[in-house]
């Protein structure tokens, strides 16, 4: 297999999981693969292999791709034999798409089936890894998971040596929680709104792209005991900015989206 650069596309939310009408983020991910009919495997582990999620994946990807999925809860039912050898199947993919849900449950189940090691190998071989929410958090060294009780840092697979926070715009308290976690010692990292994807080549952020005109992403780190947040340039994947100049403005003006947010951004915890 020719060696390709490792690539991860970490979605703050969005893609086929939650964006019924748009295909911008999924199309962006597929554009990185460079195959006419890419082999795409879905890992719905974080949802408990929810049937409806698997169905939606096939609806979205089977028309243009060789689509498959791996269920870690139904291995006794042997779906088509492809799960007999997880490693062989996963390492023959062009894209591994990880669904959203609970990141702790997913990482636990992955470890129990040896998927953590397989995915690390897949990444090194240049198989594109992507996913929203838990499917984003899992690739990082640390992540802020808010699944039950108070949000807390969890350890991810550590392919990307940063922390990650998703759905950054979805809940008002999320930003303060992430800043607090970084202030309390979580490594610095990246936060993404719903609809925003962070595209890493190797371990470097190459692009931030968005399916929404006003999608934002940020780099957050602790500097001399203070937490600093910096807006990242986010490219809107929709209509070209020249066609609709009005839609471009918010994408570049994240910090000023609302007074409340702008004010908050200057706050160092």
């Amino acid at each position: 297999m020719p060696s390709r650069a490792p690539q991860i596309v970490a979605l703050g939310g969005g893609g086929f999981s939650t964006e019924r009408d748009g295909t911008l983020l999924d199309d962006y991910v597929l554009s990185l693969v460079g195959a006419d009919r890419p082999r795409v495997c879905f890992l719905p582990t974080a949802s408990g292999d929810a049937d409806h999620y698997v169905v939606r994946f096939y609806r979205r990807f089977s028309p243009g791709c060789e689509a498959s999925h791996v269920s870690l809860f139904r291995r006794d039912q042997g779906t088509g034999g492809l799960e007999d050898d997880l490693a062989t199947h996963l390492l023959s993919q062009d894209l591994i798409y990880v669904g959203g849900g609970n990141v702790l449950s997913m990482l636990g189940a992955w470890r129990a089936h040896g998927l953590d090691a397989i995915l690390r190998k897949a990444w090194r071989r240049g198989i594109v890894l992507c996913g929203p929410s838990a499917g984003s958090l899992c690739w990082f060294e640390q992540a802020l998971s808010a699944f039950h009780g108070a949000p807390r840092p969890v350890r991810g697979l550590g392919l990307l040596p940063y922390s990650n926070c998703v759905h950054y715009d979805a809940e008002p308290a999320r930003r303060a929680e992430y800043h607090r976690a970084v202030a309390e010692g979580m490594c610095g990292g990246f936060a993404a709104d719903d609809g925003v994807a962070l595209h890493f080549r190797g371990t470097s952020l190459a692009h931030a792209v968005s399916s929404r005109a006003n999608g934002c992403a940020y780099e957050v780190r602790a500097d001399a005991g203070k937490v600093a947040e910096r807006s990242l340039e986010v490219s809107y994947l929709g209509d070209p900015p020249t066609a609709e100049p009005k839609r471009r403005e918010p994408a570049l003006g994240c910090a000023a989206r609302t007074p409340a947010r702008a004010a908050h951004e200057r706050v160092a915890v």
């Binding site: 292999d49 636990g108 089936h113 699944f147 039950h148």
Partner: protein, 275 residues
């Protein structure tokens, strides 16, 4: 949060079912009623853990259908869809009288409980006298080892070890587990233990087997040990549960509680049901 104090070992109860209960016997409530009878509460609080199935809606709905109208307070906890919960797992677990684990993938069950720290919470819950119950993966998990099909073919897998020995389930319904278990016991890879048919439950007080019960005639169980490389099998004769029986046999229950349960059962016309 404050936790209840530890109870004496003989007050620690685990009901391990080879199959059966609400997910497998929608028309036979005997095992589930037996589970409810294991506490001293008039209205026991029962928590369902559907983790081994991936928290399927089908299991959760079956749990609700079985327990929603019984004399208990029933809730479930999802480790995949917990976003709405503001209580910690510790608060949820220690508010219960019974924790009931469902069937599915034993490997995933253990890994996910461990990821959330639920394995140690449940150990502490057992020590504090919260009744633990479960079927299939949710039964084998309490033992030193079980035989799982989590990765396809049946294989031995270590459990939490609250109970000594090994357990294999669905001995009648999924007989392919048996040879793997017997070979493991013979070779010493697995400690001796029990094979349970669907519908059979073993009640442990502390680490001691107290009682074998069943929800249907003909359902059996056996104890198998390796002695000098030979398998020694002992058949158990599970007591067939009757609608009114189990609470009395356990003892220690208020007569009014039994009366109340009897009335509830009569009112719903259950308790005499077979399969």
């Amino acid at each position: 949060m404050s936790r209840p104090p530890a109870v004496r070992i003989e007050e620690r109860l685990i009901l391990a079912m080879g199959g059966g209960g609400f997910t497998m016997e929608p028309n036979n409530p005997l095992l589930d009623d037996y589970v409810l009878s294991l506490t001293r509460r008039t209205e026991p609080r029962i928590l369902f853990l559907p983790t081994a199935s991936g928290d399927t809606t089908a299991q959760i709905n079956a749990f609700k259908a079985r327990f929603a109208h019984r004399t208990c307070v029933a809730e479930h906890v999802s480790l995949f869809r917990m976003r709405e919960s503001t209580r910690s797992l510790e608060e949820i677990v220690f508010a219960q009288d019974i924790v009931y684990a469902g069937g599915g993938s034993m490997r995933n069950l253990l890994a996910i409980w461990q990821a959330h720290g639920l394995d140690t919470l449940l150990l502490d819950a057992w020590k504090s006298g919260i009744v633990l119950a479960g079927l299939s993966a949710g039964a084998m998990c309490w033992f030193q080892a079980g035989v799982t099909r989590s990765s396809g073919p049946p294989e031995a897998l270590a459990g939490l070890g609250l109970l000594e020995g090994s357990l294999t389930v669905h001995a009648d319904g999924e007989p392919e587990r048996l040879p793997v278990w017997l070979a493991g016991v013979r070779s010493g890879e697995l400690p001796g233990g029990w094979a349970l048919d669907d519908g059979v439950g073993l009640l442990f007080r502390g680490k001691r087997l107290d009682r074998a019960v069943s929800s249907r005639p003909g359902a059996g169980a056996q104890r198998v040990d390796a002695i000098a490389g030979e398998l020694v099998r002992t058949r158990l004769e599970p007591e067939l549960l009757l609608g009114d029986g189990p609470a009395r046999a356990l003892g220690g229950l208020d007569e009014a509680v039994e009366e109340l349960r009897r009335v509830h059962r009569l009112r719903r016309g259950i308790g005499r049901g077979g399969n």
